[in-house]
Amino acid sequence: MFDTVAEGDELPVRELFLAKDMVRAYARAANQMAPRFTDDAGARQEGLPGMITPGNMSMGLLTAAIEAWAGTGALRRLGTTFRGLVLPDRTIRMCGTVTEKDDTAHTVELDVWLENEDAERLVIGTATVALG
């Protein structure tokens, strides 16, 4: 796969309707059962507009998108910045682009991001991926 990838290539965009129940299931599975991640009323008491998605879940969804393209176990490093609130019950998109190739290590650098329906980049990051 490494030889067929070029700088500037875009990863297939993954679109997902992020249901509240999916966020709750993640919060349970990830041991992050804080009100902000499980119910609107609890989140509002913390000054939030409603339930939000854990940043770790956003990282997990970006990882799933990267691995869907590169293969299981290909991810070597992922760095993210949480810039905005990822609100559930909306459609999100996981996107990425190849920024650099390392011919010696057979790895590529990616810019990755999670955006909302208005194309606002709520989570941005970079990743290193090993390609066979």
Binding site: Y26, M57, G60, T63, A64, E67, R77, L78, T80
Partner: protein
Amino acid sequence: MPLDIDPALLGREFDHTTYGPVASDELIAFARALGETRPEYVEPGPTLVGHPTFCVRYKGHKFYPENIPKSINVRTGLDAGKDIAFGVPIRPGDTIDIRSTLHEVYEKTGRSGSMYFVVIRFTMTNQRGEMVAVVDNRFMHRG
């Protein structure tokens, strides 16, 4: 006001926590919650491994070192992001050892004033001493 951090605090371990053994059900529930359907993440058996970000499920018992400056209020920190270097995958039956260090503290000034960033590093290894992940957790505090 600049933070008065004792340089000796940087890199010094302030927490050591062990979790485990990891159960297959935990790995599968985590992967399914991310919408994963690949057999290696959701089917019990010898080939089951944890989704790469399963490691963020773990944290130390102490969030910050005890002797961090009081101007940093632990309860008001916002999760600003993470950097993860991935090692070997987590497998059922593993025990995960987490050593926490204060990795970095820095200040930035933005439109809304000054902010402090505190980076806590979790170094995670399994029972064989293999590196599972190094996770840098970046927390932001208003100055």
